[in-house]
Symmetry: C2
Subunit: 404 residues, 2 copies
C-alpha cells in the first residue's frame, strides 16, 4: 500500500469540480462541489448522532437506502439546518444535479456545511449547475475540496493505492471540518471514493468499523455537529472480484480505508479552528480498547491541556487530571506520561507522580507543531489514538463572531 | 430568609484569617487561610469524582469520618496533588494547625489549590502558623477568602440568615475556583459554616442533595479538578433544636443552604478564568429533571456557544446543536429559545426553527455581562438551571502559561 495524490479523483472513473455560485453573496470563495462516478456505485454512509440533523442528512439517507449512488453534491456557506424548508431545498439540489448529469435524484448524495438556521436559497445553485457540470474533470479534486471549505485553512485530501487479488485499487477522500468537531459517528463532511469492487453491505461494515478508530477519535472543540456525514462510493472499476464477505480482501480494503481516514483525521486536527498545533494522544497498555479510547479522547478534549499546549507549557498535571475524570477505573499510580515531537521525547510523569525534567528541553519539544502525548497506563495490552489541536486566541476570535 | 454579609464568619462562633506565608516565593498574594469554630462542629463534605485526587482529600476524609471537625486549613499556590510525599505533607499541615489551636489533628479539614505535581514545602506553612492563628478574628472572612484565591479575580462569599424554631440561624460560605471547573460532586474549594444545630448525617444528606442542583450544574471549562472539596461545619451555637431527621426544619435548612450555594455558583461563573460574562441557562418544560439538567449543562459547556457569547453573537444554532448532542431523547421541533439580559428578552427560535429577529436588539441584549439563555422544551414539567461563562482570549492566555 502506498500514499498517492488525487483525493476523490484518485480512484478510476471519478470526476470532480468546484465553483463559486454565490451562496453567500458577500463571500468570494468557492461554495459548490460535485463528484461524479462514470458508472453506478455501491454506497455507504455514517452520520452525526446529534438529534438536530441537517436536512441533507435525511435526504442522503433516503437516496442511499438502496445501497446505490453515483454523484455527490455539496455546498458550503450554509448548513441548511433548522430551516422549515430545508428538506425541500435539499431535494431540489439533488434534482437539479440529477437533471444536469442525466441521473436519477435518488442516486445523489448531498451535503451542506456552514451557518445553522439561515434559509438556503436554491437560486445560486440552480444558476451555477451548468458551469459546475461542464467543468467536471478526472483531476478536478482540488477544486472540489476547495469548494467544501468553511473556516478550514487547508485542503484536506488523502489517497492510497493497494492491490486486491492482483488488481490495482485506489481509495481517495476529501474532508472539510475545522470547528464544531467532536464526531460521534463521522465528522463534518468527508467523501471517499474507491474503484475497488465491494458490496454496499461490506462497504457499510468497513465504514462502521473504521469510524470508531478514526473520526470518532477526533475532537476540535467537543461540539458534535448537526451535519456530520461520511459517505463512500465504490464504483468497482478496478476490476477485482467483488468483496461480498469477510476475508483477506476485506481486511486489505479496511487497512487501506484506515490509511485514508486516519490521514484525514490528522489533517483535520492540524487545521482545527485557530489551531497552531496538531495533538496526537497515544494511550498504551490499557485494560481494554474502549478504556484506551475514552482516556485518549478525554485528554485530547481538555480545554486546559489544549491551552497549555498552545503555550508550549509541559503542564502534565492536566494530562493526569483529564485521565482521572475520564470515567474509566484505573490504577493512577502506574501511569507514565511523555511528550514527544520532532525535537525529541521527554518523560514527565512516572508511577502517577512527577519526575524532575528539563523545562528547556520540554519547551523545545512543545514548540513544534505536531505534538505526541504518550500515555503508558501499565495495566493491560490495549491501545488507542486520538487527535485534536491546541486552544488558541484565534479559536475564540473565529467563533466569537462567525456569522458576520 | 435574607442575604447578609460575613461569609464564613457570618455564623456565630467562627473566626477566620488569611496571610501570605510564601508558598510560592515569587508571589506576593496571601496563600494560607484558617477558619476555626469556638466549639466542636458536626461536619460533612463532598469531593471530586476525579480518580486523580489531591492528597488533602484523603486526609480530610479520614479526619471527618467521625462526622466531627473544628477547623479548616487551606493553602493556595500548590495543589499538593501527584506528589509522592503529598499525604505526609497534608498530615503535617493538620498537625501544625492542631498544635497551634490546641485541637486534635483529626478534627482539621484541609484543602490545597494551585499547580499539580510540584512538591509542597512544609516550611513556609510551619513558619506562618503562629501569625495565622494570632490574627484569627470574628470578622476575618475577607482575609481567609483572599488567601484561597488562585486565578480568581474576585472574592466569592455568600451568607443568609433564617429562622429555625424561633432561633436565628446563619449559613455562610466562601469559594475559590476560576478554572478546571466542571464539578462532578462539588467544585474546587468551598467552605461553608453554620451555627444551626444539625447532625452530621443530616448535614451530609443536605449537602448531597444540594450539590446536584448547585455546583454540579456549574462548568467553566469542562475539566473536573483533582481537588474539588465542599466542606460544611455546623457548630450548633444558634441554639435551635438539633435537626436529626427530615421535616420542616430540615427543609428550611436546605433552602437556606441552596441560597448560599447557588449564589456562590453564580459568583464563580462570573469569575470564570478570562470570563467577561456570566451565563445562566434555564431549561423549562423538560420531560424530567435529569433531562433538564443534562440539556442545561450541555449548552453551558459548548465551546462554540461560549465563544459566540463572548462576541455577543446571537448564534442560537449553537444552542440547538448543543441540545441535540446532549444525549437526551427530545422532540426538537417543539424547542423555543430566547436570550435575556438587563436590556430585555428576545425570541430567536420557535418550533425548532429560526424566527426573524432584530440583530441590533440581540446585540444590545448580549453585550450585557449577565446573560440568560432560556430554553423552553415544551414537552414536560421539569426544569433545571446551569451556570457558566464565555470563552475568551484571556482564558487561553491564562491557561497557555499558568505554571510560570
Amino acid at each position: 500500500m502506498k500514499l498517492i495524490l488525487g483525493g476523490v479523483c484518485a480512484a478510476k472513473g471519478f470526476r470532480a469540480n468546484g465553483i463559486r455560485c454565490g451562496i453567500r453573496p458577500s463571500h468570494t470563495d468557492k461554495d459548490l462541489a460535485l463528484v461524479v462516478s462514470d458508472v453506478m456505485c455501491n454506497a455507504a454512509a455514517v452520520y452525526t448522532t446529534n438529534l438536530v440533523k441537517g436536512a441533507p442528512i435525511a435526504i442522503t439517507k433516503e437516496n442511499i437506502a438502496d445501497g446505490k449512488a453515483q454523484a455527490i453534491i455539496v455546498n458550503s456557506g450554509n448548513a441548511n439546518t433548522c430551516n422549515a424548508d430545508g428538506p425541500e431545498i435539499a431535494r431540489k439540489m439533488c434534482q437539479l444535479t440529477a437533471d444536469a448529469l442525466e441521473l436519477k435524484a435518488g442516486d445523489i448524495v448531498i451535503g451542506s456545511t456552514g451557518v445553522i438556521g439561515q434559509p438556503l436559497s436554491i437560486a445560486p445553485i440552480e444558476n451555477g449547475m451548468a458551469e459546475l457540470v461542464k467543468g467536471l474533470r478526472y483531476d478536478g479534486n482540488e477544486d472540489a475540496v476547495e469548494a467544501i471549505m468553511t473556516t478550514d485553512t487547508r485542503k484536506k485530501e488523502a489517497a492510497v493505492e493497494f492491490e486486491l487479488d492482483g488488481h490495482v485499487c485506489r481509495i481517495g477522500g476529501m474532508a472539510k471540518g475545522s470547528g464544531m468537531i467532536h464526531p460521534n459517528m463521522a465528522t463534518t463532511l468527508i467523501f471517499i471514493t474507491t474503484d475497488a469492487a465491494i458490496s454496499s453491505e461490506m462497504l457499510q461494515k468497513a465504514l462502521d468499523a473504521d469510524v470508531k478508530t478514526s473520526f470518532n477519535m477526533l475532537s476540535i472543540d467537543g461540539d458534535t455537529s448537526t451535519n456530520d456525514t461520511l459517505a463512500i462510493l465504490a464504483n468497482g472499476l478496478a476490476g477485482n472480484p467483488e468483496i461480498t464477505a469477510e476475508g483477506d480482501a476485506f481486511d486489505i480494503f479496511k487497512e487501506a480505508l484506515h490509511a485514508v481516514t486516519s490521514d484525514l483525521c490528522r489533517k483535520m486536527a492540524a487545521d482545527g479552528e485557530g489551531a497552531t498545533k496538531m495533538l496526537e494522544c497515544r494511550v498504551t497498555h490499557a485494560p481494554d480498547e474502549k478504556s484506551a479510547q475514552i482516556v485518549a479522547k478525554s485528554v485530547i478534549c481538555s480545554s486546559l491541556l489544549k491551552a497549555a499546549m498552545f503555550g508550549a507549557d509541559a503542564n502534565w498535571g492536566r494530562v493526569l487530571c483529564a485521565i482521572g475524570y475520564a470515567g474509566v477505573p484505573l490504577d493512577v499510580e502506574r501511569i507514565e506520561v511523555r511528550f514527544e515531537s520532532a525535537k525529541g521525547n521527554i518523560l514527565v510523569c512516572e508511577n502517577g507522580a512527577g519526575v524532575p525534567f528539563s523545562e528547556e528541553k520540554a519547551k523545545e519539544i512543545l514548540l513544534e507543531n505536531e505534538i505526541y502525548i504518550l500515555i503508558d497506563l501499565h495495566q493491560g495490552e490495549a491501545s488507542a489514538t486520538a487527535w485534536g489541536c491546541d486552544l488558541t486566541y484565534d479559536y475564540v476570535k473565529i467563533n466569537g463572531d462567525y456569522r458576520t
